[in-house]
Amino acid sequence: MSAAHATVKSVAELKASEPEYQTAVRKIVRSHAVNELYGAQVYDEPAIALAPNPYLKWLTCRIAMEEYGHHVRFRQLGEQIGIPEEEMTPKGRRPLSIFEFPLQTWEEFCVVKLLADLAEIIQVEDLADCTFLPLRNLAKVTMPEEIFHSQFGKDTCTELVKTPAGRKKVQQAIDRYYPMMPAFFGKKDSENNALYRRCGIKQRTNEEMRRDFIGRVKALVEGHLKLKLPEIAEAA
């Protein structure tokens, strides 16, 4: 499906492309700009106070900066392609549902990094093959940091589950946040996703990405951490 659309190499070429393609690029850039900022504000910045020692506080500080930096990069691309600034901040856009559940514990932050950053990686992996080159390049630039954030979640959770108390808190955090994750990938048969695939911006359906996510999380949570995943509805 994506192979049907020609590569668009620059912002100038985008402006000369068909209106549907421009709409699709604007929608996805706006979505990433907003959600990266939400992530930094709702999870990363508050987690600095919750981190148990200075090393983890400073590391979390840097992670917050990197997530904010992703927002800045998407926002800059958004400005170049004509998205009004107010549409690229949380004030102007409704957040994903997960952002309505603010952090209560350090263990929750580690689980959010484990789960939500893996979901972000799956989304960005799809963009790494997209037909709009500036967006493809942006995905490739942000990917190493997203991988580190997800690995941070895995490493910290691996440490935490070594004690019975930590194990219990990580399981509670998984029980709280995992059921929200399938919605992160959007609705089944989503019109937006169909548009993205028609334009070659995304390669996979929401369902395919969701299934990929669930499979990878299962390996991490049940295979690696030896914890349980709560039951979730198959379709979002």
Partner: protein, 184 residues
């Protein structure tokens, strides 16, 4: 000049200074008398009294020290309290939105400190993404705090000005553990 321009204007020299700093270049070398005095003054200025200052020999020791469970919560809380006071003063003078906009410029400028941390670790024959990011996070926090001090018009004896001076000299102040201030 708008409030936003005024806040950013106050920080323009500071932003230029940030770009000239040899981040982490002195880590591991013995502390000079002047650095020891600056660190001691920083602790006093935070209201934590007179404490001895100690150096740290290498990156792994610094990493281990920053993860010790007996670190001083009073030190961290004193810094957070000072940050809140400065932020309040800055917002009163320039307005909240303009202070945030000016601080965002500092955050964006601080993003390149990570490269200096990676380079400093490489000179020590270490490759540790987490440690480089933690060091960069600490330095970025110090930039944020020093910027707040500038916006609030605090002088050179403010604890955040003193802490930033240590970073400016290529150091990494690691905080207080067991009633001793450690500087790498």
């Amino acid at each position: 000049m708008t409030g936003g321009d005024a806040a950013s204007g106050v920080l323009s020299a500071f932003l230029a200074e940030m770009n000239r700093i040899p981040w982490f270049s002195s880590c591991g070398t013995p502390l000079s008398a002047a650095e020891t005095k600056t660190a001691a003054s920083y602790v006093v200025a935070l209201g934590l009294g007179e404490l001895p200052v100690a150096g740290i020999a290498d990156w792994r020791d610094a990493q281990a020290l920053a993860q010790r469970p007996d670190w001083s919560r009073a030190w961290w809380d004193a810094e957070i309290g000072a940050e809140k006071n400065l932020h309040r003063q800055g917002a009163l003078h320039f307005g909240e939105d303009d202070v945030l906009a000016a601080l965002s410029e500092v955050t964006e400028a601080a993003s390149s400190i990570h490269d200096s941390a990676v380079a400093a670790l490489a000179r020590a024959h270490l490759h540790d993404q987490g440690l480089a990011k933690a060091a960069a996070g600490a330095a970025s926090q110090a930039c944020h705090q020093a910027a707040l001090a500038h916006l609030a018009g605090a002088g050179e004896t403010h604890p955040f000005a003193l802490k930033f001076r240590l970073f400016s000299g290529g150091r990494w102040p690691l905080g207080i553990v067991q009633q001793r201030c450690f500087v790498f």
